[in-house]
Symmetry: C2
């Protein structure tokens, strides 16, 4: 590891220098073996450092986008609360995310993913600065996969309930809500869309991490 690194940094540059000096002394002109050894030593250690660094930068940008998306989804869901302007003696018509356990799960799932993504930023930066550190990349891949699972789970469950709120289910006597709660429904739908956007980004992140881990 160390060997190859130092070879990459400066060892292979030293070879042609010394060699050229000697060969010119003996007057033999061009010597093929040093060139071959330079290529061989130079080839392996930095196979795709630049490419990996590029992947790392894309990773960082996508991560920030995913943070925005999950934060927005959680914030919109958490602040959605609509009271209808009429009420009966016993009951005020009110819709808030915490009337639905699924929406509470949605909020928690997105908040956890957002917090994880913020905490993962330093690791992502490590992957840019040191493209050969495999451990950080592997860690990111594993936790990105788990975050992906959590986020898509929260988003799909919320989507199922949003669908029900929009359309109802006549077979089971579940009425649609969105005629009455005309402010609640679009906000909740927007939150779900934001969360699915984060899911899309996380899928790309997992595949990018795998590509960066790939041994070339």
């Amino acid at each position: 590891m160390d060997l190859s690194r130092s070879g990459k940094e400066s060892g292979d540059i030293a070879i042609p220098v010394r060699e050229v000096a000697k060969s010119s002394k003996s007057g033999k002109g061009i010597a093929p073996p040093p060139a071959a050894s330079t290529i061989r030593l130079g080839q392996q250690p930095p196979p795709a450092a630049g490419w990996r660094r590029g992947v790392g930068i894309i990773d960082l940008i996508l991560r920030i986008c995913a943070i925005t998306a999950t934060l927005a989804a959680a914030a919109v869901m958490g602040t959605t609360d609509q009271n209808l302007p009429f009420f009966t003696q016993f009951f005020q018509f009110q819709a808030s995310y915490d009337d639905f356990p699924t929406f509470t799960f949605f909020l928690a799932g997105n908040a956890i993913t957002c917090a994880y993504l913020v905490l993962s930023l330093p690791f992502s930066i490590v992957c840019i600065v040191r493209p050969h550190v495999i451990g950080a990349r592997m860690l990111l891949l594993i936790f990105d996969t788990l975050a992906l699972a959590l986020t898509i789970s929260a988003a799909s469950a919320a989507a199922a309930i949003v669908y029900l709120a929009h359309n109802g289910n006549p077979g089971t006597n579940w009425p649609a809500l969105c005629q009455q709660f005309n402010e609640f429904c679009p906000r909740v739908s927007g939150a779900v869309v934001g969360s699915f956007l984060a899911v899309l980004i996380l899928v790309v992140l997992v595949i990018l991490s795998a590509a960066a881990l790939r041994r070339i």
Copy 2:
């Protein structure tokens, strides 16, 4: 340039260099690379073939388990159909998966994942027979991630509806169903559990594939 630094960091890099220089002085033309450096360079290609093969075998077994789980989930959901023994003049009380769009999605999602997993078996076998074929492993990782996303999406959406069927949602006037449909509900819940089992296996598969791709 940085001669002193490279010499300090790894003195043994200098050995092949000197040797190459000598052989070229003797006028032999292309010199075979020194044994030591050959071994060091040659170490990289077959680092963990046995380990990768082991991962491949675990991958195959887990894949078969996931096929069973998704197939069972889809089959149980597809065959669940309960008619209640009483009916009114206009309406027979009946519950079937296709009364719920979410359950239809669940069935489709699990069936697609099951079909994909069956089609992926040959690739998994290729990864056992030829542990160095990175392309097949990479392909499996990408499609496993997508299958994971699809399956957990289907399972979570169905779980949200199953929860609603069990508990209802008094705030929105959605009554619970499971008191009446005492046969429908346990079967559907079982299907959701089977699907989540498949999700768990797929998460392990993705992480295993990443570990196998890792450059050691």
